[in-house]
Chain length 561, copies 2
Amino acid sequence: MSKTKYTVGIDFGTESGRAVLVEVATGREVASTVYPYQHGVIDEVLPLPGKLIHLDPDWALQDPLDYIRTIQITIPAVLAETRIDPADIVGLGIDFTACTMLPVKADGTPLATLPTFRDNPHAWVKLWKHHAAQPEADRINATARKLNQSWLARYGNKISSEWFFSKTLQILDEAPEIYQAADRLLEAADWVIWQLTGEEKRNSCTAGYKAIWSKREGFPPKEYFAALDPRLENVIDEKMSHVIYPIGERAGGLTEQAAGWTGLRPGTAVAVANVDAHVAVPAVTVTEPGRMVMIMGTSICHMVLSGEEHLVPGICGYVEDGIIPGMFGYEAGQSCVGDHFAWFVENCVPAAYERQARERGLDLHQLLEEKAASLKPGESGLLALDWWNGNRSVLVDVDLTGILIGATLATKPEEIYRALIEATAFGTRVIIEAFQDHGVPVNDLVACGGLPEKNRLLMQIYADVTGREMKVTASKQTSALGAAMFGAVAAGRAAGGYDTIFEATRDMAHLKEETFKPNLASKEVYDQLYAEYLRLHDYFGRGGNDVMKTLKRIKAEVIHS
Amino acid sequence: MSKTKYTVGIDFGTESGRAVLVEVATGREVASTVYPYQHGVIDEVLPLPGKLIHLDPDWALQDPLDYIRTIQITIPAVLAETRIDPADIVGLGIDFTACTMLPVKADGTPLATLPTFRDNPHAWVKLWKHHAAQPEADRINATARKLNQSWLARYGNKISSEWFFSKTLQILDEAPEIYQAADRLLEAADWVIWQLTGEEKRNSCTAGYKAIWSKREGFPPKEYFAALDPRLENVIDEKMSHVIYPIGERAGGLTEQAAGWTGLRPGTAVAVANVDAHVAVPAVTVTEPGRMVMIMGTSICHMVLSGEEHLVPGICGYVEDGIIPGMFGYEAGQSCVGDHFAWFVENCVPAAYERQARERGLDLHQLLEEKAASLKPGESGLLALDWWNGNRSVLVDVDLTGILIGATLATKPEEIYRALIEATAFGTRVIIEAFQDHGVPVNDLVACGGLPEKNRLLMQIYADVTGREMKVTASKQTSALGAAMFGAVAAGRAAGGYDTIFEATRDMAHLKEETFKPNLASKEVYDQLYAEYLRLHDYFGRGGNDVMKTLKRIKAEVIHS
């Protein structure tokens, strides 16, 4: 009888890193530990003793050594807690925020760790939510349109300021000496794999979704980069790589040094890096077309697989092998979901409700959910456009803002709260219909993230509005589980893991038994409300009335006057 | 040297009656007393001992004896307080809510006081805000359109369910025995004058604004009433009167009985009754064209005078001699102003603000005003349509609802609060422009009511949005002062009063020295916002998108399903 085998996943998040140790045969999560990064998100001053180097607003950096510390602290902790023999741990996978990128020397040394460069903010890791590269993103988009770059359509015709070349171009613009000194520019995800295995193996997920790479066409051509900036012409050859490894491959074995950090055995299989959102897809059982995975938190990330390539207007992008090998992975997004409810609770709920919640031992979200749940669909008489933080998919317009319509003197806070939930559900339905209408079917929904645990009303509303069954992951740390699953695949069946992510998913990923099924009577009412939502969506979102932009312009003018 | 002369005004409000004793020569308010009606607004059960007669929702009644008690209690109280010789009180005027009407016998006895009828709710006074006669109002309007009644245009093409014939028709529909038993149907205002003077003298203000009467055309023709209901054909001849007395006339002298009630001398001059809103116009110094009087409270009533007759679409109506003799008095309205802010404070202001207000000894309105005042025009990035309670002028549509547009995750409660104030100011500007565009100039604004005292920010915003100087009455009880002024006019100069309301106004009405002048820089920003407001106003208010009505329809359907 073979001994129980295990695999480890590390989820590198925004504020902390989390390791989870998982049973290969079942996906059972045996232990997990969180390491809050020593320097967290660096958005005010660089963490340099005795120096005050301030960052501009919109900057967000990290310390690459925080990632190493995560490895050094969390894996030994789960080993110590479980007393599992490292010989029974067959693989290790990681997932990361993205695009989170850094400049390093040829041997992998981050410039941020070198005395010559550490005072320069551009030497540090640019975190995904570093938003200071908008001028560069604008140039990237304008130049792409000018040169008729076909790849632009893969990304809903817009490259984000968060993405790889926006950040790269900002380094070149503002700190050419850093650009010059960087032998390699790469995702922190790939840099960590390099530190674990000694091998620079770039993954197809970040390359595809964040760095304009595709399996068939590669990166944009040299002429495009030269048009952006002559110094950028050979950026791929000089500082990146044309060799991209598909998700699901083995990156290498653990080095002696990394084995020393972790307590794992040298040579333990390490998977090619992954992105936190995308790695969740198999972790919530999805490896086939027709099922939309929704990571529901402050925002929603929507992912669907398909065997076919389709241009779907207004989505974030699609990447072959980007999520599951052999499939096109499509990604869309809503920029304001949990954030929406948090804003409402903080700014719009009266003191009487706070007292009521306190007396009943509820938090305000719970009280509002309870009150809102007692309303029927359509009963509030309200309709909202969920654009408090702009619209990602399918309008791709950060300058859109929120609307609430239908308020009367009898309107209650829970009615507004419910209308906001419904608006985000209508937003999801717009995305689903965009996929459906362009050849990417969506038959059911699988949710993970913070919201599904917290708000049952929200889940039912999404089921009713979309007319689709809504399933929920059984894992509380979906991304880390997904990373661990890829660790098991990197090991292979012969070493006690799996040969494919499909097999790993079948055995290791699980959904809760309870699902949210659409109520047909509710769906009928929501169909009527959705027709009104769509009409307002198109009127305000597609140029019928640009009042939102006008208000933003006036606001900017009066603030600066 | 003649002794100082005085005049008394009684303002019959919704919850109470207030008497004020005023110096004729100066308008100085010497004393005042309030009597809260014993039965207040009767909207649940009739106040009958040992009986439970329930009222339907939307009903609002009053007890006519509460008006008599007001007279019996308040005038003796101000006399006792001031020890003024009743011989020095030259006149008495009253103002009333309207349309507030009742059925009485030929001798003036209210049916509600007769044992035969007192159990029937239709025997009681129907208060202005009795809203149960909408089906009758609909019939009145439909029939008027069918019969091409020219008078409909005088009232913005819509007769309200609050008005005289809607209420009359409801009595006929639901209680024909009461209609039958009523020898007279009349405004409570005119009934009170009858009780004071022994003479039934109907006033031109209520007749004109509430009962479809005009000086030139009289009431609608018999054929019209017959088309509504054959039993109504002779309603004017049988239960009303063709003789209507213009505002500013003497109704008669105080009877012995009324003198006994009040302590005033028999024969004291009593003015023809007036309406609380309209009587305020001279009380805030306005007796000439070009100046808009705004009574600003839960709603706004706008009044302008003109020497000329003009059809202004969407206003409430205009009446010759309705406010000032010899002038056309135009009335428009906004249905949701103070109510709007009250709704916001009750439903949308977070507990943190309540704590902050408490710590600083402010109420929430004051705190919000202070925070909102620190914002520049346009800085919130928000725009609202002030239709939380429908739109009176100029769209005349109760089924419109509120919109807030431009919300982001950074939107603060005080920004919404300010946007709501601005929206009501834009609503006033729409009304002003409707008047201007149709031949009724509006050069400056004179405000009275509860809001101007309470909210300086609001006053400045109205000045900035309308580009007009905003003046404020010096009186805290404008309507009662106006009633007292008409009392002095009823007395005439020979008796120590005035011969005309113009003279009375010159001496007795006063404004505060401080006024709110438009800030031109703010006006420029508001002009831009107003253009956006107007576009949304017309899109949602004139059929471009009927989503508000659709939401109301869906709401009604799901509530009743």
